[in-house]
Every structure is written in structure tokens, then in C-alpha cells.
Symmetry: C2
Subunit: 160 residues, 2 copies
């Protein structure tokens, strides 16, 4: 699926997100935001055969488009902090390639519609790919840089 | 970054993978394949500012291009099994949108080069995006469908 221009690639949706969120501002963000929201992955008829055996997986990676992001910033201040960070250290929608990544829990499949929990995309978001979630990095092995520091500062501010 | 054609998006590399693997056939695959291979994420000078504060994260998601995949199959037989599965239930390179996803461990940053462990891409693979790995699904909550079944069949065949 190479694009006409050398060194660039053209992506097309394989389906769309069904979500209760109508605008990006409605999606919960910041420290402590839980993503248990129910939604759907509605796959286009042309790609339905690609869902074979997906029912067996409890969790899926969903790759999707920040289709409303018009441009990108290399450094940004995320909603979880008051300090600037590099875009590749954040989940900012304003990325050089505007691809989002969300882990969802698969609840049920009905034909080419997957009922899932954990959506943080807005309704109608184009889906680029779905992959099985096969293994995890143990929480004990994870270091989360500025995110942990921002959470600690936020907690400190809340203390009386 | 909208493409000229309505409903499609154009992606461009932000950098390239440095890897000891020169061809896809060299990358270890199948049940029990461990991915501890050392490599680099070499980010283009134009995007270096986007790496600010990335040193603080132990693990990163790397989104990259299966740049050698010319077409896609909706159903395929993966190297880990002898049975066909839908492409969205597998990590096959022959996907409608040929995007790969790998979790790597960040070892060190030297300017716009990130030394990492866990590469399963070939040398020169274009990188589309890097995101911080922030949390894991507990292994106890994971179900891995046909992958577990194929592993069980493989183990059963190995028994005397």
C-alpha cells in the first residue's frame, strides 16, 4: 500500500469507533482517569474476514487516527502536567504521524462489530489496525518518568 | 497531515531502526521466541526535540512500517500455528495498513539515538511513532485465544 510519493505511505480506515464521546473534550484525561467506557469497533464489510478467531482474545490493541489533529507540536504540555515534554514522551494527539493506540477489553463479537470496554476515542474515529494483546511488561519493571513525577506533585498539592 | 485523497492519510518516517537483522527471515518467531535483541531507534534531526524527557521511561511502544509488505491477506497461517486465522488476530506483516507494533526496553539515550532491547524489526525499518508505555494488563487477566491453543498443541507434539 505504497503512496505515490517516495518515502511516504497511505493509510485507509478498516472501520470506525462507536463511542459515547462526541468531542475530544468529553474524554476523561489526567491522573487517575479510568478507561472502562463501553464502545464498539465497527469493521468495514471488506475486512470482516480478518476478524476470524478474534473472539479468543481478552484484550486488543487498537491503532486509530487522530483524524481531527491538523498539525503537530514537538513539545507540548499534557493535561496531566504543567511542564512541557517531548511529543514522543506523551500521548498528545498532535503527533508527526497522528496515530493513536488504545488497549481495549473485548466483550463480545457480533459479526463485524466488536463490543469493547476502554474506549478513549471520539465517535466515528477511523480505525487503522487491530492486533492481539499477547503479553505484558510486569508493573514492577515499569518506570514512567515525568508521568510519575507529575502524579506525585499533584498528590502533594492535594494534601492539606 | 491529510493526504490528497479523501478518507486516506499519508504517513512519513520519523526515523529508522538499527537492527542486527538484515532480512525478515532472520527475526526469531514462533512459540518461545524471546525478544532481547539490542538495536537502536535513530530519530531524524527534524524530530529530535520530540524526544525530550523520554529517558525517564523504561519501556516504549514503537510503531513502525512493514515497508517490505507489498499486499495483505485477510486470513493467514502464522509461523506459530498450522491453522488459518484472521489477520487482526495475528501479528502478520501482510496487513491492510502495514503498521507494526513492538514494545522495547529503553537502555540509553544518546542525542537522537535511543539504544533499546527487544527489536524484532529488520535494519532500516521506518519508524512512524514512539509512545511511552504507561501501564500493563495483568497477565492473570489475559486470554490469548488461538495462540495458547497452538502452544498447547506444539507442547503435546514434543512429548514422547
Amino acid at each position: 500500500m505504497k503512496a505515490p510519493e517516495k518515502g511516504s505511505w497511505t493509510m485507509r480506515p478498516i472501520g470506525h469507533i462507536g463511542s459515547p464521546y462526541r468531542a475530544a473534550e468529553e474524554v476523561p484525561r489526567g491522573p487517575g482517569a479510568r478507561h472502562e467506557t463501553a464502545g464498539t469497533l465497527d469493521i468495514l464489510p471488506a475486512y470482516e474476514a480478518g476478524l476470524k478467531d478474534i473472539e479468543g482474545f481478552s484484550h486488543l490493541f487498537v491503532l486509530w487516527l487522530f483524524h481531527q489533529a491538523a498539525t503537530h507540536d514537538l513539545v507540548c504540555i499534557p493535561p496531566t502536567d504543567s511542564r512541557p515534554h517531548g511529543v514522543f514522551s506523551t500521548r498528545s494527539p498532535r503527533r508527526p504521524n497522528p496515530i493513536g493506540l488504545t488497549v481495549v477489553r473485548l466483550i463480545a463479537r457480533r459479526g463485524r462489530r466488536l463490543a469493547v470496554k476502554g474506549v478513549d476515542m471520539i465517535d466515528g474515529t477511523p480505525i487503522l489496525d487491530i492486533k492481539p494483546y499477547l503479553s505484558s511488561v510486569p508493573e514492577s519493571a515499569l518506570t514512567r518518568g515525568w508521568v510519575s513525577e507529575a502524579e506525585a506533585r499533584s498528590q502533594a498539592r492535594k494534601r492539606p
